[in-house]
Symmetry: D2
Amino acid sequence: MIRVGIVGGTGYTGVELLRLLAAHTAVELCAITSRAEAGIAVADVFPNLRGHIDLAFTVPDMAALKACDVVFFATPNGIAMGMARELLEAGVRLIDLAADFRIKDVAEWEKWYGMSHACPDLVAEAVYGLPEVNRDKIKSARLVANPGCYPTAVQLGFLPLVEAGIVDLTHLIADAKSGVSGAGRKAEVHTLYAEAGDNFKSYAVPGHRHLPEIRQGLAARAGKPVGLTFVPHLTPMIRGIQATLYARITQETDVQALFESRYANEYFVDVLPAGGHPETRSVRGSNFCRIAVHRPQGGDMIVVLSVIDNLVKGAAGQAVQNMNIMFGLAEAEGLGGVALLP
Amino acid sequence: MIRVGIVGGTGYTGVELLRLLAAHTAVELCAITSRAEAGIAVADVFPNLRGHIDLAFTVPDMAALKACDVVFFATPNGIAMGMARELLEAGVRLIDLAADFRIKDVAEWEKWYGMSHACPDLVAEAVYGLPEVNRDKIKSARLVANPGCYPTAVQLGFLPLVEAGIVDLTHLIADAKSGVSGAGRKAEVHTLYAEAGDNFKSYAVPGHRHLPEIRQGLAARAGKPVGLTFVPHLTPMIRGIQATLYARITQETDVQALFESRYANEYFVDVLPAGGHPETRSVRGSNFCRIAVHRPQGGDMIVVLSVIDNLVKGAAGQAVQNMNIMFGLAEAEGLGGVALLP
Amino acid sequence: MIRVGIVGGTGYTGVELLRLLAAHTAVELCAITSRAEAGIAVADVFPNLRGHIDLAFTVPDMAALKACDVVFFATPNGIAMGMARELLEAGVRLIDLAADFRIKDVAEWEKWYGMSHACPDLVAEAVYGLPEVNRDKIKSARLVANPGCYPTAVQLGFLPLVEAGIVDLTHLIADAKSGVSGAGRKAEVHTLYAEAGDNFKSYAVPGHRHLPEIRQGLAARAGKPVGLTFVPHLTPMIRGIQATLYARITQETDVQALFESRYANEYFVDVLPAGGHPETRSVRGSNFCRIAVHRPQGGDMIVVLSVIDNLVKGAAGQAVQNMNIMFGLAEAEGLGGVALLP
Amino acid sequence: MIRVGIVGGTGYTGVELLRLLAAHTAVELCAITSRAEAGIAVADVFPNLRGHIDLAFTVPDMAALKACDVVFFATPNGIAMGMARELLEAGVRLIDLAADFRIKDVAEWEKWYGMSHACPDLVAEAVYGLPEVNRDKIKSARLVANPGCYPTAVQLGFLPLVEAGIVDLTHLIADAKSGVSGAGRKAEVHTLYAEAGDNFKSYAVPGHRHLPEIRQGLAARAGKPVGLTFVPHLTPMIRGIQATLYARITQETDVQALFESRYANEYFVDVLPAGGHPETRSVRGSNFCRIAVHRPQGGDMIVVLSVIDNLVKGAAGQAVQNMNIMFGLAEAEGLGGVALLP
């Protein structure tokens, strides 16, 4: 049994991690920490876990965490980087669901996240945990930077085109729509039901923190910088992201075949038959990314539709997938649940 | 492996049955029939099943169904009663998710359902599939009448009070609220998103088909007729029922202890600690019924709050639970998933 | 022109008051105060008001408020009672949308609201602003206590029965369901979209602040105390309340005729034809209360269905209705908008 | 008083037209026809109209319609073209909310709409009813083709750029998101609450009927053909469209000033201050289009955000605006309502 600790389990990525790990047969849940909720039973905060998880939240305790084989950080940005070195030195492997280790350019990270980085050397070591790109490195990683939700949906949608070098890389467009759980379980006015319900809007059009993460990932596969316009939107649903991607084709290719071939061996990436339109509910609660690719009216614009559950493939599910890879388990272990539809 | 057939798998109870059975390790899915969708892959109708179920819908074929150990009817009312005798005679056990075999008084059934019953003798034989009441009879049943969604939530909430005989049985009130999936996957105007969204209403206040079913179940436990006012409401969510129940206490009792004791050995009925308020999302996608019991301001009115997922404990999940009981499996087999929250 | 001031215009009752007053031809909006948003244009906080209201929020300024003919308090509980005396002495008439002046029994108020009352004598003077009961007193009132949202829906539904004395007054039941805007525009976790969406629950079953208000109103009409069980629920929609009311008839009466007669001259109370089921969306954004009355299966239980928009007839609309009465305007002035459906 | 008839008033554009006209002081509603609902009171179908509209639906009756000054067609495509000539010859002016007269190229229309056109000569005469482009022609028009919902949001967003000739016209992108009421009040499975709720998807990516309409409108202003990729999405809300538009700037311009100048005299087009993000709820129930324009990271991509209520500025409200222009009334007459927020 893999001994697992979770730091900061009171947000949506935390409860989702608990939901998935409760059903994971190779895992023993040893510690769940939350300074704010210490002493409270997990199932009192998240009533779906009644009968499944008996633990209570504790204050973060390094001794207990050091006794784990792997620790997940489901914390706000800036927490993991303060605890990572000590845990790594104790031989614990880490998966950070926040952004502390995602951006290799530390100065760029500091600009977007507005704080100094506590351990730039660990940024260099960290493996970006997108299995469809970095599976081999993840196997032996001590420290995995779990990708953001938008970056997962956008990169998986663009990768076949970018890797094949068949589109204009200077003017990629990602028009992304997220359910409200993507904003987290924080008391804020703009994500109240009466604010976000029956409403649609863009936000952060001048610049969103996931922009440099996506650009870094695509540039690495392209072998050169990419130009990307990224516009996120808030849509009145709880879970789900759809990224609608636009790229101009520069070299004639059978894009349907390209996508099918690229993901032929990727269990969690499902390329729909030509002409398909994926729906976010088809992945609700599951770790799949479903993708369709179109070329409207036979023009030179490629349109890719990519959907994920932001809390699963976009966060906790991908983290479990990474853990499975790191510990030599079947990659889909504990991730076999069928999406909830309707 | 239990060989399973499903008749009429294109509604919401059908797709939910498929979701649950896809994860059930003791089951082999042999036939899924739908006259309207014959020839179409199941996963083309329900994209959440892509990668999980490879079967296509077929026209109903008695030979194929007779080769099954158990057949589920996820059909409109009136279908199962036309096929039941032939399948039973072939040794197949049946679980009807529709209403054909729920009401013992055939005349009453015919009044509420507006048709003649095709096999009244089988009504007499059928076991009402509420495991918390009829577990022993279900074990050996050939024909199980799976309860309705409202009847499950309402009966589980009232049972401890009715069985203990401590409330006024002549004026029970059940104020029940259902998500829109309870109306089924039929093209109708009143359940369109733009009609049912951001809207709340009662319906069928003069009389709803689940009224006689609930009255029959409660009367059986009380040993005498009960008076019940049942008011169903449509609430703008997809899944979930809350029944808010009112009964006047006639004999002083510790009702919290009564409920805890009644359900101490029932895995799928979770009695919350005193003062609790269950939420429908705490059972979304799961087979639990969560119940809280109150006595506001110490008066003589008992208020019971009972929540289920109408498609799981209120339909497909309870059907699988019944199958497990009928075939000697662990009762929770294939039903271990944690509710999806948020 | 009536000179109007609003204290505390940044909540949902505040913005709704602004929406209604912007279309009111007999009103001049003179001051809108908010300590937190002082200096910010109203239309920057509430973009629906762009092009309709040019004012900015100001810090509360007694001089400016004293120059008004009427001041609305759209503040949290406890604010109005601190400013009321000074404004009344300056000749300003007041309408408090909060609860400071609703409960005549000051000790009872202090128990439920957890604070000492600043001016019990004004409580005695205040007129409870339910026009269908107190129209004449409202005309000359200096201080109107605008009713709560649940109390409006529940009282209008019970009034004909209680006034006629034809039901058992000792066991009234009000099962009420509210949209999430009823919880206000406060940053809290439990009303986030991802918490309250696709979810249904009861809350405050042991006791809710609107219980004594409803009991007081019904008792006044009955001429004796009433016994009431009041269970509020949160339903996933933005606006709207439905109260489903249960009362046992003790004296044979044509209840449909009773309701039609009671409200024959009440423009804002619409009694549906026999057999009707009102929907909350039929009053979305409008000041109507729509009511239907049933007697299921001809038994002795009367079921009343009463719907309002909690922000209009349940708050801001009723406040404008009261203002119209106080200033001798047509009662529906500025309240003529048709409900938004779909 | 303008005598008004409505053909086909049982869909969402019909009820919205009725809501708006009920509050319009210069209009007398003379006839509302619906073959399916003939004889039924309008307020029985749309309960928000109780107390506002006393008419009943009638079978279409040419004599009654000919007695009107203006007739609105709120019918499915293909109905208006069959009745238009006779009504025009009787001196009635027509506003078609369907698509019969929108596309000047009749062959193109017949390809997208799958039927033969009944009166191509009237297509030539019809004025495309986008007041911000064709106000002068609308004044004297006998026959107005009211624009589609997506075309209104997309054209108003692109017009300043296209008219100024400062963007690459060969690769315009419109990523548009619509609430579910845009699909109409038809009994269909895919727009059921349990299908469209908590779900997001693209549809019709290979080609949507609004594509040729938008291309025609933009080409007319550009003076040459435009290349447009148009991807519509269904978002789980009732009303509202957001169009997110992408265009590459080819000539340095202050785009904020350009938009403000273009719409300086357009009451119903509201250009937000630089940096803004319009929300669909800010126009819910109102006739405004709110627009913001961005240039992310100072690159060469212009992003325009354009929101409307699809049933108001995208249908019935724009139709009333056109009527006001045709009959010399103030353009905002009957359209002064403030958007409903929350």
